[in-house]
């Protein structure tokens, strides 16, 4: 890990982690290529009459095989960012990945998760913040943007859960595990049989998310414990619920949190 005050290197780390997830996601989706063909499950969504961005992209660019080529190109560019040690090639790759992510977020709306929106934010910040010759102020603004999105994501998710009665009662967690596309029925059934556990797990997740931003103000040991807990949480979601992209996206925001943790420590009397 680079020093806490090296904004440039921390942005590079954020981009690397995010790109590792993008590579895996792109290859996984590309392996389902028969579904990308016209009228198939993941076929072109452009004629939905919803207006907006999709209407402005030529149908051929959204169809097959263009979508497959974009996925493979995205995987290649992501791999480049992960493996390259430095140089201006990374800037070109990041800009290309940002465009690919914009394409991905409308073309693959049917399989989009919130992690993909976070990827867009991280790639935008990394593209801007690692431009050669830009001032440290812009790099820090880019890191601030990523940190804000992470803090917002955790806090808002936690607050929403606390406000929703079915989350507080544990019923929603059971329902997701038993019945959604992210299901893990065995765990869902166990929790359904023990409502107290379901309630405790729901509250633990919600309170943990709400309090997550306070980790920035803790001493280093506390901060790293919070980060480790975050990584464990997302790793568990990846294994249990099949949501691996959240692990990479949120881990990619942690370098920005590390930077601001250092800043808050430096101004503390």
């Amino acid at each position: 890990m680079p020093p806490a005050n090296d904004a440039f290197e921390l942005l590079r780390w954020a981009a690397r982690i995010c790109c590792a997830g993008i590579v895996l996601q792109s290859l996984e989706l590309a392996s389902l290529w028969p579904e990308l063909r016209p009228r198939r499950l993941l076929g072109r969504p452009g004629d939905e009459g919803e207006g907006g961005f999709a209407q402005q992209v030529p149908p051929r660019a959204q169809g097959f095989p263009a979508s497959l080529f974009v996925l493979l190109g995205r995987a290649g560019a992501g791999l480049g960012v992960v493996l390259l040690a430095g140089g201006e090639a990374i800037n070109a790759l990041l800009a290309a990945l940002l465009l690919c992510q914009v394409y991905f977020n409308f073309r693959f709306r049917l399989v989009l998760t919130n992690a993909d929106h976070l990827n867009l934010a991280i790639l935008a910040a990394a593209t801007v913040g690692t431009l050669p010759g830009v001032s440290p102020a812009l790099r820090i603004a880019a890191l601030g943007f990523v940190a804000f999105q992470a803090v917002l994501a955790y806090a808002a998710s936690g607050i929403e859960k606390l406000r929703a009665g079915h989350w507080r009662a544990g019923a929603r967690l059971v329902q997701i595990l038993q019945d959604s596309s992210h299901r893990f029925p065995r765990l869902g059934n166990r929790l359904a049989a023990r409502p107290g556990w379901a309630r405790a797990a729901s509250w633990a997740v919600a309170v943990g998310e709400v309090l997550f931003p306070l980790g920035l103000l803790l001493p280093p040991a506390g901060f790293f414990a919070v980060i480790a807990a975050g990584l464990l949480f997302h790793a568990a979601l990846a294994v249990i619920m099949g949501l691996p992209m959240f692990f990479w996206s949120f881990a990619a925001t942690y370098p920005a949190l590390y930077f601001f943790h250092g800043y808050f420590a430096s101004i503390r009397p």
Partner: protein, 190 residues
């Protein structure tokens, strides 16, 4: 670290114009994300229109007030009828209900499962605003029907009929169903 931020204060004053623009864009994006999540009613609706699921971080969309609650549930039902058979039992291929989606044929691959779930959710959201006969609803339902037909092919020599049925929370089932497709078995899944 403190020294870094002290030099920053002066470097902000010397930022070139394009950097100021980039910083302003990031700040605007962050502001949009924050306001989006505050969900001030009118502002939220406007941001949703602006957003189109692309620009702002989309947390909470699935938790936002969901018009699909008003749509009750829907079912995608099908039957495979032989030429000599006047009636054949309807079977439920998929059911959409509030907050979640279940396909009776479970799909292990997460992207396929997510696509199925989102198609179901989209059908529900559209049903809240319109009828099953709307072209957008039937297009999604057809895609779902096609996919389920590939997973669960109709027996040779039968005619597969797929319908979308909406059931309201009151339990009353008005004449609110629509034929999605009806075709010979050999064409199913093509």
């Amino acid at each position: 670290m403190g020294a870094v931020f002290a030099t920053l204060q002066s470097s902000y004053k010397r930022m070139p114009f394009f950097e100021i623009c980039l910083t302003a864009l990031l700040a605007l994006w962050a502001l949009g994300s924050g306001l989006y999540l505050l969900r001030v009613p009118r502002l939220h609706r406007w941001l949703v229109r602006m957003n189109r699921g692309l620009w702002f971080v989309d947390w909470g969309v699935f938790l936002a007030s969901d018009p699909s609650k008003r749509a009750g549930t829907f079912e995608l039902v099908f039957r495979d009828r032989r030429p000599d058979e006047r009636e054949a039992p309807w079977r439920t291929a998929a059911t959409g209900h509030c907050w979640s989606w279940r396909a009776s044929v479970w799909l292990p691959e997460r992207y396929r499962a997510a696509a199925i779930q989102n198609l179901g959710r989209r059908i529900k959201l559209r049903l809240a605003r319109t009828s099953p006969a709307s072209p957008l609803v039937s297009r999604d339902a057809r895609r779902l029907g096609d996919y389920l037909a590939r997973l669960c092919p109709a027996p040779a020599g039968t005619m597969r009929e797929v319908r979308l049925v909406r059931r309201f929370p009151s339990g009353v089932v008005p004449d609110d169903e629509v034929l999605i497709f009806s075709r010979p078995a050999h064409a199913a899944g093509e």
